[in-house]
């Protein structure tokens, strides 16, 4: 629990919009997170992130869904009136995967995304610029870096709360954190 508050203030299944901490500088890298569906079919309301993360101002995140069997298709128009059409799906080519590129609309805010927050909740939050995109399986593999590697690249150092008025529970957590910092400056 303590570790989770260090990574994100948001409780599981929720997102929290806070004022951006000016001490945190964005490294302007792309961060990527997988969203996995609970059922067999892709459903954005059941598609959740297994790890919490934070969207900083000026960061661009790629949210990778598990809708990954999207094949290219072509329409063959067989008559002049356009009423007889056939559809051919090319399953020999590499399938595409649906992703979303997101960034915060406001440069003064940061968004804490809790574990198990749904993709639908993020897309409907209204505080993100959302661009859907299609990537090949090779590009998806390129984007899917280990979360630890991505976290190492962020400048998130929880030396103080990201909001001026944390809740009492969070204040306690960060108070403990400060104590730890006093004891261990390598954190």
């Amino acid at each position: 629990m303590f570790q989770m508050y260090k990574m994100s203030m948001a409780a599981p299944g929720t997102i929290v919009l806070t004022v951006a901490d000016p001490a945190l500088k964005s490294d302007l890298k792309i961060l990527n997170y997988n969203f996995t569906s609970l059922g067999g079919h892709f459903d954005s309301s059941l598609c959740t992130t297994p790890v919490p993360f934070i969207i900083h101002p000026n960061d661009r995140h790629v949210l990778i869904t598990d809708l990954d069997q999207i094949f290219g298709a072509t329409i063959h128009n067989k008559s002049s009136d356009g009423r007889r059409n056939t559809l051919s799906v090319n399953e020999e080519q590499s399938p595409l995967r649906l992703c979303y590129s997101v960034c915060l609309k406001s440069p003064d805010m940061m968004l804490h995304v809790g574990r198990d927050a749904s993709l639908s909740l993020l897309l409907r939050s209204g505080c993100l610029q959302v661009t859907p995109l299609m990537v090949t399986s090779e590009q998806a593999a390129q984007l899917m870096r280990p979360v630890d590697e991505q976290n190492n690249r962020t400048k998130w150092i929880p030396v103080r709360p990201p909001t001026p008025c944390p809740s009492p529970i969070n204040a306690q957590c960060f108070s403990d954190d400060d104590d730890d910092d006093n004891n261990n400056h390598d954190m």
């Binding site: 792309i30 892709f42 954005s44 999207i70 009423r83 799906v89 897309l123 409907r124």
Partner: protein
């Protein structure tokens, strides 16, 4: 047929057509969220017939330039689904404003996702114009939402 519902019925004797019936699932305004993708009007999925369902999601492909940037390419691909009934003796009545996710997770249809290039999509119908009209609010679909 109640809006937002699907009804599984015994199939009436029908003639299979050579046409590819096309039905739209649209998100009323805003960013594309598949869970808010609703059928534009009521339709019936008959056995032994394939249907093309198009969504209002048009997404570009990208080039991934290392870790630093995404380069969006020209054009766009529309997310579509090809569906058919699993059981030959049954039909499915899909009401107006039925979520696409409800239809896909119903368990009684075969569904495959695919993309159509934007220009290819124009071959099958004038639905692009329809979507445009929906977006600017000419159709009652948006005003009732």
């Amino acid at each position: 047929m109640a809006a937002g519902t699907i009804t599984l019925t015994r199939a009436a004797p029908t003639l299979t057509t050579t046409e590819l019936p096309v039905h739209g699932f649209l998100v009323p305004g805003g960013d594309f969220d598949p869970s808010r993708c609703l059928s534009y009007k009521e339709f019936t999925v008959n056995p032994n017939q394939k249907y093309l369902l198009f969504t209002s999601l048009v997404a570009p492909t990208v080039k991934v330039n290392g870790d630093d940037s995404l380069e969006f390419e020209q054009g766009g691909y529309r997310l579509c689904y090809k569906i058919s009934m699993k059981k030959p003796g049954t039909a499915l009545i899909v009401g107006e404003k039925t979520p696409l996710t409800l239809l896909l997770s119903s368990g009684c249809i075969n569904a495959a996702s695919f993309t159509l290039y934007r220009d290819d999509f124009r071959l099958i119908s004038d639905q692009e114009q329809l979507i445009h009209e929906i977006k600017i609010g000419k159709k009652p679909f948006v005003s009732r939402m």
